[in-house]
């Protein structure tokens, strides 16, 4: 263990550059997966003929597969059927698909948690089913979804590390490079990486707590 050699500025800067890539990829995937997850979750909740069963099938398949496999597959197998993505794009696409499947389940159970009586009442007072969803179910459901959503976002941020297998220059990839140059820096560098992940995720959960109190 060699803390002095590990924390020279060259290494720290290199690790931070990887951290920046981690944050960028995570931010893009969070935005996209939230959007798609909301749509898929609502589609399943509303029981639209043809759409809901398809959404259910896709969601169940994707969320029961290892993300590592999905990432590798997106970058190296999809081109065989004409979908070509760069390394960062492939990482974002794979994370988005996987986390959107998870988020759709959160959205669906959040919507399902609204008592049926409320829906019936609003329907009988003349609102359409879409209006009911928009004015009655969503505002209440969203509030309940915040904690599980944020913990899903935390998972996503951690899962970006799996993109090492397609050589995305993110935090773990760069940490491996530094360790490859000098093995004695392994533990200090891994500790530094852990602190960075922890800081990012802890910030996320603080924001979530803020949001919860504000929405309540």
């Amino acid at each position: 263990m060699d803390f002095k050699d590990a924390y020279v500025w060259v290494n720290v800067e290199f690790i931070l550059r990887g951290f920046l890539m981690t944050l960028e990829v995570a931010a893009a995937a969070i935005a996209l997966s939230f959007l798609i997850g909301c749509i898929a979750g609502t589609a399943r909740y509303m029981r639209i003929p043809a759409v809901s069963p398809v959404a259910a099938f896709l969601v169940e398949t994707v969320r029961n597969l290892p993300l590592l496999l999905i990432i590798f597959f997106t970058k190296f197998a999809l081109p065989e059927i004409g979908i070509k993505l760069g390394v960062a794009e492939a990482a974002i696409a794979a994370l988005t698909v996987f986390e959107a499947a998870m988020i759709s389940e959160i959205v669906r159970s959040g919507l399902n948690s609204i008592p049926k009586g409320q829906i019936e009442a609003s329907r009988s007072s003349g609102l359409t089913s879409f209006q009911t969803l928009w004015h009655i179910v969503l505002p209440q459901g969203l509030r309940r979804m915040v904690p599980p959503l944020v913990s899903q976002f935390i998972s996503l941020l951690k899962d970006t590390s799996l993109a090492v297998i397609i050589s995305l220059p993110e935090l773990m990839h760069n940490a491996n490079i530094v360790i490859g140059h000098n093995y004695r820096t392994a533990v200090p560098i891994l500790v530094l990486a852990a602190i960075l992940y922890f800081a990012a995720n802890f910030t996320l959960s603080l924001v979530s707590r803020r949001l919860e109190t504000r929405m309540a």
Partner: protein
């Protein structure tokens, strides 16, 4: 589109990997259930230091990637003179990581048991540990089973990380098949199907358990 000769020619290889994946997942499930329960009890005991340890563990481990935990075992132990096989490092990493999530599930289960039960047990002369073990935990288990099942699914999926450190799991053998045959698409589709073979039935079982428990309430 799909090259079925990959499946037929390498069926044995896939099965070997599948076996190791199941083995790692089951070992890690057992280990993380024990460790997770211990942590959950730590988090709700009246003893402050224990509570602090439990909370620190859960908060820290939940916020760092599994890959990092596995690397800590894989690269961090040897300088201390402990060299474990890649499979052992991977399984230990999975155990330590999953325990943090199981601890939360078990804690929620324990908290769902009415306080009166513990008080009644204590007042009838049982120690804190005995009340916990004999009265509270058995009741908590019922609530804990569905989330535990979910963690088992996660373990099976997460065990693919063993491939990164040469852990001889399903994903590792898929890499090997792809390297030998140069067939990427079909190789990983079949690997994915093998994972689904394990996870989809478990996923249905979780749904079924949740519905049953909801009915019983």
């Amino acid at each position: 589109m799909l090259d079925f000769s990959i499946l037929t020619d390498h069926f044995g290889t896939y099965l070997t990997g599948l076996g190791q994946t199941v083995y790692a997942s089951v070992l890690a499930l057992a280990g993380s259930f024990l460790l997770g329960t211990l942590l959950a009890v730590f988090r709700i005991t009246p003893a402050k230091p224990l509570r602090w340890i439990g909370t620190a563990y859960v908060e820290f481990v939940r916020n760092i990637p599994l890959l990092l935990v596995v690397f800590l075992f894989f690269l961090g132990l040897p300088p201390l003179g402990v060299v474990l096989s890649p499979f052992a490092c991977g399984t230990l990493g999975l155990t330590v990581y999953t325990a943090a999530f199981i601890a939360e599930a078990v804690r929620a289960g324990i908290l769902s048991v009415p306080k009166g039960q513990m008080e009644a047990a204590r007042s009838s002369g049982l120690s804190y540990g005995m009340s916990m073990r004999l009265i509270v935990l058995p009741q908590a288990v019922k609530i804990v089973i569905p989330p535990l099942n979910n963690q088992f699914i996660n373990l099976i999926k997460n065990s693919s990380i063993l491939s990164v450190i040469s852990g001889f799991d399903l994903m590792f053998y898929a890499d090997r098949i792809a390297s030998e045959t140069f067939v990427i698409f079909s190789t990983y589709i079949f690997a994915g199907l093998f994972y689904l073979l394990l996870t989809v039935p478990l996923s249905f079982a979780t749904g079924w358990l949740e519905r049953r428990l909801a009915r019983n309430d």
